[in-house]
Symmetry: D2
Subunit: 356 residues, 4 copies
């Protein structure tokens, strides 16, 4: 089944394909009276935009967003906000080969198996271009949660992690990798260049930290804050794993090491002496920073030939020409941040619904 | 907000607390005409049941399920199936201390922050007893997907992984750890004993493999098969991470290594030469085994004293007496399996809805 | 598809059949901290209870409700509230004939067409016994909206309307018809007696008025307050029509007659000079009383023989013995009231979610 | 809360205001492989289009629809279909007065009460222009249910009903009132002219009949086919009542008169001797024509002055200039038809999900 809506009360629906005329999102359930114009959204789209360095796809898309509804005299009205981004740099002729054979690791075969056929141009609906719509919606979600500060960055690229001791938030915007460690960024430059030149691709791990989330957002069970974050992040193209706090590493700790001890804090709220939990216990925020980590596989579209079959089931080999990111995880960084914002906005409103 | 329903068309709602009179689930959207009696559900509850070895909590619960609706003359009618399990071995007096102070790593503080108070007896709604309801619902989900074979096991305990070369599915039911490697099971025995005796606890990683899922289940975006699996598994108590296929390891592979090449298979369907993707591409199943891996943190309720605060915000220290699993991941195994079954049943029906 | 859950954030799921061991509801999303015990629910069940006069079915059901979860020390915890009512007076042997042939006007044929078979005992899931679960859930909804006063009554029975000039709210509880007009109640006594004796049945119109709903609940479009009320009421057994305010009569008015003029009221809020709109404009409450009117068809189960077919498609004739209400609309009155309460509670929380 | 999405598996989300740049709908869950181009949608928009006779608003809108996604090489791909209609004939200057004072019967006051302010131009989101998006979405729904034939018509206008004996389906398209009775159409011409000239407005009743719906669509309870139809139709602007089959008239019948007797039909399916039930029993279709009747109140925007208050709460009087339909029920006819199509498409897919 096609489900292109995410969220429970603050919801968004995305539409559009890589090579269609446009793509967009409808944001529903937004509180009224928030100041909103295209200028609140565009910077986030610019951060995700392709073609800004040699380390991303060379497709040139201005990704200029238009607000078509839901805003009156500069403020949200409480009615649905329609956002549209026109596609301008499609080159469908690049995709002749993809129409005939399946790219291993890509959605091609699965789409054909499900729907009987597919829009093969640029991956159609499975293209990461869809994430522009999420980033646009996420920019609105941020307005709903002004108490929260979000930061996302690549913490590992091609198996090469940052050094936490060198973490510098100010560095993130200064290199093309959203990397908070200047030395790692240097190394990654060489890594990505090498992958690009050899027709290969790389994976990455993105970390997002949300500070300022008050204790109490979330739910005990199937709409747990961590469950929603996992769904949100796993829904991003190329993502294969999600962790909250220590994640898989927590499975290797003893109970007493993993505990986040509390002592009386300044303002009545507890002071936590650690944050193995990543700010969530029992599905509900604890007031500590919410920490999510997301694994992106290497881009499936590569110039190295891979064994495959044609739509007719015959043996073949495929090389994906087109224009592709050598590491989708890089541009996935603002997408993860957007999805975390969207989940938090929804959970804030849900909490208010039930608990006033 | 409290959301105790999971699923889109095949849905279940759970209710109940650790020390209430009973707990249960209502399964809605089940196809009609499936043979169903308590005997189809009980074995799965028995596998998850506490008190069966010294490696799990000593609480004695028969976990006998009753079907209260939705079945007529031994077959599902298509109307909601109400399942109830009575609690018989509550010992609320164990929880006096928990009422007064927060157990670090547990949901206590977050619940109070959200709701203003909480049912502290045995963790109330945040108790892993709730998972009995999921396992019962999962047993019905299995009837919806007879084409799928599910297997789940602990693949790492306290940081000690199984040896894939020693994998023996038949071994899983022969030790108290759902461990497919007889030698690892031996080692874990010592490990868990040690943790239990020292008042500590251990984490674990559970893997679930679903064979027989046809290509085409899932959705391109927010109801992606992997997104739904991530939400389902992250909603289980104590889970902090979810991976599909190679998961975080995929972020360290090159594009050509991570690709799952295809060649013509026996029956027209492709033969895949690898399964790094864990059976899902673009959110849709590929026909390969679906592989999910889930990280359980060590049990938060431990006998080792931990620094904490009282409900009044005063400094304190807590030791959690009660009866607890030294490693919740062990009994989490049938729960993961149940959640995967529930997601697959839902996705099968969703696929049928859209694609006939 | 079976959908047994109603509501968006304040939700309830019902289960159970006429002749199963029990029926119940799970109420989810309820705000925490509300005082709740069985005594808050039972009076509403008693009002709907069968067998209390000769004008209703003679089935004797105490309809004693048990709260199985979600309440701790007398207050709602914010987690799901499970309610159970045991069936005690089933007489399945009455239904042999119904198993073989379809009762015209009843759900029998439609169920078989949908599901392939059905639980024919007492109508199974399509029995009005399910409405006990709604009434129980509705009693909890009332606690969420203490600002609202609800009143429901039969305003027409067997085509004989009350005289608005004789409306006396105090009268409603003094006769077995929920009739606010003492003279009409007298006439209806004869009417229902006659129908009962001749093996016939009667329809009725129920009106529900909610006073105290503040302006602003509802939504502009597909979750309009009136749309939700229509869905809620039309989901009640035997209902064939729903009106808001003047309803169908509004279609016969001119624009200027139908307008509800406003003038400045005492406290800044407008004073309305009429309420043709029934308290809802553009899907949102106006602060005036919300008025809903619901048409119940005559009971389908009658002693008068009707032409029908058997399950095998052969011509037959059917007389429905069992025990049935000669006019389901009467006992439908507390059900309408409950459904209105459930919608209003949900809309209150939704409004709070979006607008704070 | 703003909920601009309707449907469960076949869903659509609408957006846009009367005087924004455009409005639209995103249709999600549509089966793949259906032939679809703008030409499949435009005729239905043309039927609803304003300015086509002197009996509707004089606003001139071509209502040209563009498909922006979800279609590839002329067929639906199974991914979301984005539809956009540009607004071309806004005249916002007409609305100065509406900005300052509330139009009685209109959503103005309720919106301000809910959201704190509103887009007053042409009613903003509460404008009937939104229904263009529904009609466009409805055109796609029709493709999902080729087995169903839909017909909708005005059966009463200003209290003047058609004569069923003169019913001629061919007549519906031949007059500006969607009237199936040529003589009634003549009378209505005079009626609407008179209302228009005197600055008044009229209500109407629209009937929609769906033939070809197989037995078995729908659900026993909260997603009953009749409940969904009621929600769908009550969500249309200006609607105040919905009936299924005999509706309120059924409340005046005896049980034996209201029964729809069955006898063996030609092909194994029963032949029904009447259709008081309007094709639905127990929430599930019976195979008979599904009959829905919808009451539209008279247009609230009238030239006759009405007593009101300003936004500041001062006494005032208002005359609504702008351009308005003298009877919104007329152009509501294709909207009712679209909503019925949308519900049936959703229910067809839901039925397929559960029952195969």
């Amino acid at each position: 089944m096609s489900f292109n809506t995410f969220g429970r009360v603050f919801r968004f629906t995305t539409w559009g394909e890589s090579h269609g005329p446009a793509l967009g999102a409808v944001v529903d359930g937004c509180p009224p009276g928030l100041g909103l114009s295209e200028a609140d959204i565009q910077p986030f789209l610019d951060a995700r935009r392709p073609g800004t360095s040699r380390f991303t796809t060379q497709r040139q898309e201005p990704d200029a967003v238009r607000i078509l509804s839901g805003v009156f005299e500069g403020r949200t009205t409480g009615t649905p906000i329609s956002l549209m981004i026109e596609n301008v740099d499609q080159r469908s002729k690049d995709y002749g080969e993809v129409a005939k054979a399946y790219r291993p690791g890509h959605a091609d075969y699965a789409y054909d198996a499900k729907y009987g056929f597919r829009d093969y141009r640029g991956g159609g609906r499975s293209s990461a271009r869809e994430t522009a719509a999420r980033v646009a919606a996420g920019a609105i979600a941020r307005l709903v949660i002004p108490e929260v500060t979000l930061i996302a960055y690549v913490c590992e690229l091609g198996g090469d992690p940052i050094d936490p001791a060198r973490f510098d938030a100010g560095e993130i915007g200064r290199n093309p990798f959203f990397c908070p460690d200047a030395q790692a960024a240097k190394r990654w430059e060489a890594k990505v260049d090498a992958a690009r030149k050899s027709g290969s691709s790389l994976g990455a791990v993105v970390e997002c930290v949300a500070t300022g989330v008050p204790a109490g957002w979330g739910a005990p069970l199937y709409a747990k804050l961590d469950s929603e974050l996992a769904a949100a992040c796993m829904s991003i193209n190329a993502v294969k794993g999600v962790e909250i706090g220590d994640g898989f590493a927590a499975a290797r700790l003893s109970g007493e090491t993993n505990a986040d001890p509390m002592r009386p804090g300044a303002d009545g709220a507890p002071e936590f002496l650690a944050n193995h939990a990543g700010g969530i216990a029992g599905g509900i925020s604890t007031g500590q920073p919410v920490v999510v980590r997301v694994a992106f596989k290497p881009t499936s579209s590569i110039l190295t030939p891979v064994e495959t079959i044609t739509r007719q089931g015959e043996a073949s080999e495929i090389v994906t020409k087109g224009r592709h990111d050598p590491c989708v995880g890089i541009r996935g960084t603002p997408v993860v941040e957007a999805m975390v914002a969207l989940v938090l906005a929804d959970q804030k409103l849900l909490h208010r619904a039930q608990c006033g």
